[in-house]
């Protein structure tokens, strides 16, 4: 029982940590204008007193699902290539931050920003 609670708390803290790391890594990807909390719902990973907007980490069967919401800049590579880069960076960062299995990464391009 105690170990379950500890495990659950640790998992919560890890989710926030992973979300923060993923957010920072994705924002460093060229042509990502910024990570977005969504235009309507406030998407993010929620902790007790904090939230990491734009990156939603949830536990799924035998792994973790990551939703990343971004605003892309219009210049440069195609949106598909950009999404691939975001998926790659997200996966690498999640694994580097202790996620054992990344089951699913969904990239949602919320908007485009003209940065020419």
């Amino acid at each position: 029982m105690t170990s379950d609670v500890t495990k659950s708390r640790r998992s919560q803290v890890d989710s926030l940590g992973v979300a923060r790391a993923v957010r920072a890594a994705v924002e460093a990807v060229p042509n990502v204008a910024h990570v977005s909390a969504g235009r309507f719902a406030r998407i993010g990973t929620y902790g007790r007193s904090t939230v990491v907007h734009g990156v939603a980490i949830s536990q799924v069967e035998a792994g973790v699902k990551v939703d990343v919401h971004i605003v892309a800049s219009s210049a440069g590579k195609s949106l598909l290539e950009l999404a691939e880069s975001v998926r790659h960076v997200t996966r690498e960062t999640a694994i580097a931050n202790g996620v054992e299995t990344v089951r699913e990464i969904n990239v949602i391009i919320e908007d485009l920003r003209d940065e020419e």
């Binding site: 235009r39 309507f40 719902a41 699902k65 892309a72 219009s74 195609s78 949106l79 598909l80 999404a83 998926r87 996966r91 699913e104 990464i105 969904n106 990239v107 949602i108 391009i109 919320e110 908007d111 485009l112 003209d114």
Partner: protein, 193 residues
Amino acid sequence: MNVLNRVLIILISLVALVASIAVLLVTIGMVDPETLAPNNWFQNRLAEFEDLTGTDWNWAIAVSGAVILVSLLLLTLELRPGQREPSRLVVKQDGMGRVTVALDSVRRLVDWEAQRESGVMESESQVREEANGLQIRSRVSLSPQASAPEVAELLQERIKNTIEHHIGKRVSQVTIDTQLEPLGGRNGRRRVR
């Protein structure tokens, strides 16, 4: 605001609304507490408003009226249909997950591309996903020196290539409506499919 918060606000507003209406009706003497209240506890609470006079009566009317208005306002705000989620286009789905793009963003991309074409002053586009691919319709305003058929043809090719490159989905149709007037006007339009 999440669903739980919304449900809580709706419940609290409903309770406040019912209580203030009851207080108002009892205060102005329209209804007896016995008629309204389901049990003795509620009857005793409402009975306190039955014989109010002077300033107390005024306060009870003003406060219950204000609570009714605020509750109705909150209920209206919480129960009105929410803003719709933006329509999204699934551009890739594989074992790793999904990549989606807001249709508005694709529309914006079309407009940017159209406006990069020489002779195009303004553009306003619509993008629809059909079974055979994306259908794009652009209204463009041209400069007087531009040749509408030539610009329209170039635009069709440019928009199709750009969107297919960016989104990786087939563009089945690009329709261009050209006009010389700014896009607010509707005269002198020509269409190229």
